[in-house]
Symmetry: C2
Amino acid sequence: MQVLLTFNINAHLYLRDPERSEIGKSIIKQSIELIYDIGFEQFTFKKLAQKIGSTEATIYRYFSSKHKLLTYILNWYWCYLEFIAKMHLQQVDDPREQLQLVLEIITHNDNNRSRIKDYNLEQLHSIVISESSKSYLVKEVDAINREMVFGPLKSFCQFMATIIATIDPEYKYPKSLASTLLETAHDQQYFSEHLPNLTDNKAGQAHKQYVLAYIQQLAFSVLNPNNYGKRARLH
Amino acid sequence: MQVLLTFNINAHLYLRDPERSEIGKSIIKQSIELIYDIGFEQFTFKKLAQKIGSTEATIYRYFSSKHKLLTYILNWYWCYLEFIAKMHLQQVDDPREQLQLVLEIITHNDNNRSRIKDYNLEQLHSIVISESSKSYLVKEVDAINREMVFGPLKSFCQFMATIIATIDPEYKYPKSLASTLLETAHDQQYFSEHLPNLTDNKAGQAHKQYVLAYIQQLAFSVLNPNNYGKRARLH
DNA sequence: TTAACTCGATAGTAATACTATCATTATTTT
DNA sequence: AAAATAATGATAGTATTACTATCGAGTTAA
């Protein structure tokens, strides 16, 4: 197993850095598979230990709870998305095309544009869709937030918001639009797959393409292209 | 305790109908208070039993699990919202004003327009914001969905979608927009309160007003008022 | 008044989410 | 190569959770 990408993930999330040992990397990799397979509620350290051929005790030496492990995985994902997005954006100048590209990335409509061996990205995406809100929809959110463990998500939103603000500097809600597009990408794919009555995806197929088309229409309806460069021109 | 409103809630959700006994109504009422106070994860039937001066066994005679109880409460809320919305909408003809009104209702910006003694609506709204996704973001979603326990949510979305389709019959995503506005109303209020960096609510106050202003702008940017009545005129 | 129903009380179970200890095995330092 | 240090495996144990089961007392309805 070769890890190509490593990100600086908040040390509050782990006791021992999982990137620094084979068993640690195995914990992350198999967690993704296991959470994907059985869902976060059914996921336990005991089952994970069995899967990696180790014991609960060992896993507890890396993560003090399954919630922190989930947040760790999600942080990795947000760091990864921002990295990939910034990489591809270098080739694009028009901020509208940039936003388009980011929407393709967050809906995973970028056909294998990003091949990576580390973790199973399709499973990871699926976890982000169905489990990510569980990392912050908890009573202790303010306390955990103070430890900065939601940094990568905020950073990715800020990154999207900057593009949005470039397209339309008059638009008053760049950050809210960014977080809305992100959340909507997830909700709508989940709805399209499991509660299709909450969407207009009649065909019931091609969830990702449906979601992309929808949020694209949403984003570009809200932003007024006539304002592009407005603020800049004033100077 | 006097219950003014009762709705037909899917019988799959309970073993004994809580509306039909004082202790049953007490279970619902105190559940709302307790889930609001300690969050769904910390919420147990044991604690609830203590609160209502009864025992776990009694509560289990009404609900087979805390998940079903949560879904029951959420169903009540969606039935209630649809009822209130339909009531107020009778006075309004313009579908744009109708949508405006619905947005006020879902963000709870309707100042005491709906006084009700049954349950604490502010707490209920708060539960909807932070716990509602937990009722469907579970591995067994397809199985539970087959029992029609998400009917009231779907019905409310359909109701919104109809208004949206009246405003702009050309718009291709009325249901997705409805579910997006609903989810966004919740996400953005949660973010505004707990992760304000994901929003543009600088003041950090007046969360509900902020959210309303934002989703209003969102909704009416997407819908083209020029298409109002278009389809009708063709006939 | 007897049957049906509801509730309270108690007991019990398997699983979960940990914590603790200790011997063994690697790894690093000298 | 030996000694010191650290990581792991194995095992045990605890409080809590999410139930299930049983029994007797009180209440209501025919």
